[in-house]
């Protein structure tokens, strides 16, 4: 399986790294790492799961992450949902 990768440094913020597997322009598997802050931390696994099956498209991904954060009361520091989305799309468009 081809693992696609990208990095995205938020200006004045933190670094996001994404690894993903793509199928039919959808996210098949994803791992988000980096030096950002997200509270509660353990929800990162659930956030990743919520993205599986999502089209690799910036506004759709942003929407899912925003909704997740609102529903779960997640706090982000040094990154925003749009930044995750940008990095994911960048990975999805890379050739590995």
């Amino acid at each position: 399986m081809l693992v696609l990768k990208a990095e995205y440094k938020v200006e004045g913020g933190k670094l996001i790294k994404v690894q993903l597997e793509r199928e039919d322009n959808k996210i098949k598997a994803i791992k988000i790492t980096g030096d950002f802050f997200m509270h509660p931390e353990e929800l990162i696994d659930e956030l990743e799961k919520s993205l599986i099956g999502c089209s690799i498209e910036e506004s759709a991904i942003t929407e899912i992450i925003k909704r997740f954060i609102e529903e779960k009361g997640v706090i982000l520091l040094g990154v925003a949902p749009e930044d995750f989305a940008k990095c994911i799309v960048r990975a999805g468009g890379s050739s590995g």
Partner: protein, 256 residues
């Protein structure tokens, strides 16, 4: 009357115990078994810690660490990879109830408030330190301290480092760099972005002198009295358990 906090100085310990004890103190505080606590500690052997969300393989040259006898551990807090030099660095942690008046719902604000103790302490040493959002303390724009915070069980836990002396070369031996070619460039750039007490003052400041300054800094900035205390049996047992079952395990350290 200033509020009394417990002051712990746990000296030189290994990375797994150090991270386990921090969590053990959080658990003990959440059960109201101990007061709010400021802890100083150091690392033996020297170690690398990575943030909760980081990948061990991507951030750390595990082989180099094994070769040099340097430990590596994942923290319970977010943030970046840090090289904790046995002789170059002092680490602290604060464990405080979330409903304490010093704690804001705003994480950014809380970093600034808790870091004010470090800032004040460094100024007592003649170092014009300033807090720099999100989570750094700088001198003239150069980083001297990095900090990381988390919350849970009704407790705020913040830990961070203060650089007495810095060794960028060793730092980049244990931290992964994109390629050998840019290693030198990165070492240079760290020299431009990071400083230490020694390089600013041009003299050695002993750990004792640094700790004493920080104790006064925290007492003044947070309006508290730090009373030297001991780890409870509960904390020691919990720390040993967390070291064995969590922080020293491959499952935890390589989970991302």
């Amino acid at each position: 009357m200033a509020e009394k906090w417990r002051l712990l100085d746990t000296g030189l310990k290994d990375a797994f115990y150090n991270m386990a004890l921090d969590e053990a103190i959080v658990i003990a505080r959440s059960k109201n078994l101990v007061p709010n606590t400021l802890r100083f500690f150091r690392w033996e052997p020297s170690a690398v810690s990575i943030g909760y969300f980081q990948s061990m393989e991507e951030e750390v040259d595990v082989e180099a660490c094994n070769r040099l006898g340097i430990d590596y551990v994942r923290r319970r807090t977010g943030g970046g990879a840090v090289y904790h030099d046995r002789d170059g660095e002092l680490t602290y942690s604060i464990v405080i109830s979330e409903n304490h008046p010093l704690i804001s719902r705003d994480f950014q604000k809380t970093y600034e408030i808790l870091c004010s103790g470090l800032v004040r302490g460094l100024r007592l040493l003649g170092i014009p330190a300033e807090f720099k959002p999100i989570n750094d303390i700088v001198i003239g724009g150069k980083k001297i301290s990095g900090n990381a915070q988390t919350r849970g069980m009704g407790i705020v836990h913040q830990h961070g480092t203060i650089l007495r002396d810095v060794n960028p070369k060793l730092m980049f031996t244990v931290l992964k760099v994109p390629s050998e070619k840019i290693r030198d460039k990165m070492i240079k750039s760290v020299e431009e972005r990071v400083t230490s007490i020694k390089s600013y003052l041009g003299r050695e400041v002993t750990f004792e002198e640094l700790k004493n300054a920080l104790i006064s800094g925290f007492e003044e900035a947070l309006n508290i009295e730090l009373v030297p205390g001991e780890i409870t049996d509960f904390e020691e047992r919990m720390a040993m358990k967390l070291k064995m079952e969590k922080y020293s395990t491959r499952e935890w350290n390589f989970r991302r």
